[in-house]
Amino acid sequence: MDELNKSDERRGDSVTTLSDNLLLERISRGDAASFETVFHQHYDRVYGLLFRLVGNRVEAEDLAQDVFLKLYNHAYRQRLFLRSREHNISAWLYRVATNMGYNAIRGRQRRWQRNMTLVPDPQGIPGAETEVEKREVATAVRAALAHLKPRQVQLLLMRQMGFSYAECAVACNIAPGSVGTLLSRAAKAFREAYEDVGGDQRLEIRD
């Protein structure tokens, strides 16, 4: 996936820079090239964010596509109002992606404990025990995230994905100077939620 992100960054660098307002306006008028530009620039990272939340490739792909479909509709809706408002497409995309993934895991929250019992017995399958443990931890982590506020989830995941503090600030619509503090609070909330869901009693994945 690192490779994916790197290739995405390379592609982003080669894109002609247009203001987000102009891009949105062009998209709203059906300009396929502008939509493609935005899509290629952000798809992999939007997918990456969603995968971290839902943990399933097909579901993350579907949600990512829904995010861009929403962007298309959003662009239209903004057409009449573009003149006096500054838009930030990446901030919008990651916020909507977070909300969609967050809603998905919250809906799943009640089921996650039951899912634990559905994990197949790893005995006798080489390497399977570690894989199952990892899956259990991931499930607990997602359950903990579902207890956080959406913005805290977004901040933690974007930072984990390697977004800079400045990028996090823009995407979460917060002051750059507040990112560190809010990240610390989000991390604290996560640790508490992780304990609440019993994640701390599971085997931690070692680095």
Partner: protein, 332 residues
């Protein structure tokens, strides 16, 4: 490294378990784009929600312009801005209490489009305060504070809305030019003499108020706003103007005359619905009369109703009108 940074790093390490592996590599962005483009194509062709949204938000600008100018002229603007003038000589008052619909044929829409292209205007339009930008709100509470609505209702069954938008109201004034207004009526095939001489120079003030739009991931959308208000001179007979409006929208003389007498034009907002777009019927929503639009392809419905001075639009892309009525019953 400070303790807080260590703790943050520890959480980052925990979150790394969520990273996709090589086996989780998604399809290429080009493949994904092709799928999204296909969805957009389908949406444009079939999506009731998309089409209704465009319709409501006047995407079909030329049609909207023609229909809208006349609606404004007659004093029943739904989405147009304006203001309530304090002048004592404006005694007529329109406030939305009910909705009615009229089916408009593609042929009539084409005529209205041509009228709009000709640039005919029914008078001098002055926008006193443009409606505010559509602005994202962080919460319903923030939206309520921003719009000043006494209460904001939502649909708890659907969970928190994914998007909340607010827009300020606005106001405007139309000073009628009878010659221009009659030219529009005549160009649509209606009888221009339905517009009385006394209409010349009449001043119509329209006000729309701040509103809130909530949207959920499944496409359900709820809009609410205080009822728009239209003031018009007391010597303007809204029934006569309503009859002219019905003719402009394609109804024949006799039908227009008969129907115009049965509508309370001081409280009924007439929505022109393109014939190939949706059917409609009256429904009871929250104990009041409402209007249901039903997508002709069966992919969605919409409800309009007014209760306690608030106008609501509820849109469900994959719901029947009955399901929407039930959903409206869960409003809190």
């Amino acid at each position: 490294m400070p303790q807080s940074e260590k703790e943050l790093q520890s959480v980052m390490n925990q979150l790394s378990v969520l990273e996709p592996t090589t086996a989780d590599t998604p399809q290429t962005s080009s493949q994904a784009l092709a799928r999204v483009n296909h969805q957009i194509e389908q949406q444009v062709q079939n999506g009731f929600s998309y089409r209704l949204r465009r319709f409501v938000m006047s995407d079909n600008r030329r049609f909207a312009y023609a229909a809208f100018l006349f609606i404004l002229l007659f004093g029943a603007a739904f989405s147009f801005p304006s203001v309530r003038a304090a002048a004592s000589d404006f005694l007529g008052l329109f406030r939305v209490q009910k909705f009615a619909a009229i089916s408009v044929s593609p042929e009539q829409i084409a005529i209205l489009e041509r009228v709009a292209e000709e640039g005919l205007t029914p008078g001098e339009l002055e926008i006193i305060n443009e409606p505010g930008d559509l602005v994202a709100a962080d919460s319903l509470k923030a939206a309520q504070e921003s719009t000043g609505l006494a209460a904001v209702r939502t649909l708890p069954e659907l969970g928190d809305p994914d998007e909340i938008w607010v827009a300020d109201g606005g106001n405007g004034r139309l000073t009628v030019d009878l010659e221009g207004a009659r030219a529009i009526v005549a160009a649509t095939g209606a009888d221009p003499m339905l517009l009385p001489d006394s209409l010349d120079g009449a001043v119509v003030d329209v006000a729309v108020y701040a509103g809130i739009q909530q949207q959920w991931a499944d496409g359900t959308m709820l809009m609410q706003t205080a009822s728009p208000v239209v003031d018009y001179p007391d010597d303007v007979n809204p029934t006569v103007l309503g009859e002219a409006l019905l003719q402009v929208l394609g109804m024949n003389d006799d039908e227009a005359h008969r129907l115009a007498q049965n509508i309370d034009w001081t409280s009924t907002l007439l929505l022109p619905i393109p014939q190939e777009f949706a059917s409609f019927n009256e429904v009871t929503v929250e104990g009041v009369s409402g209007l249901a639009l039903n997508s002709l392809d069966g992919h969605g419905s919409a409800l309009f109703w007014q209760k306690d001075g608030i106008v609501y639009l509820l849109l469900g892309p994959d719901m029947t009108a009955d399901e929407l009525v039930s959903l409206a019953g869960t409003l809190k």
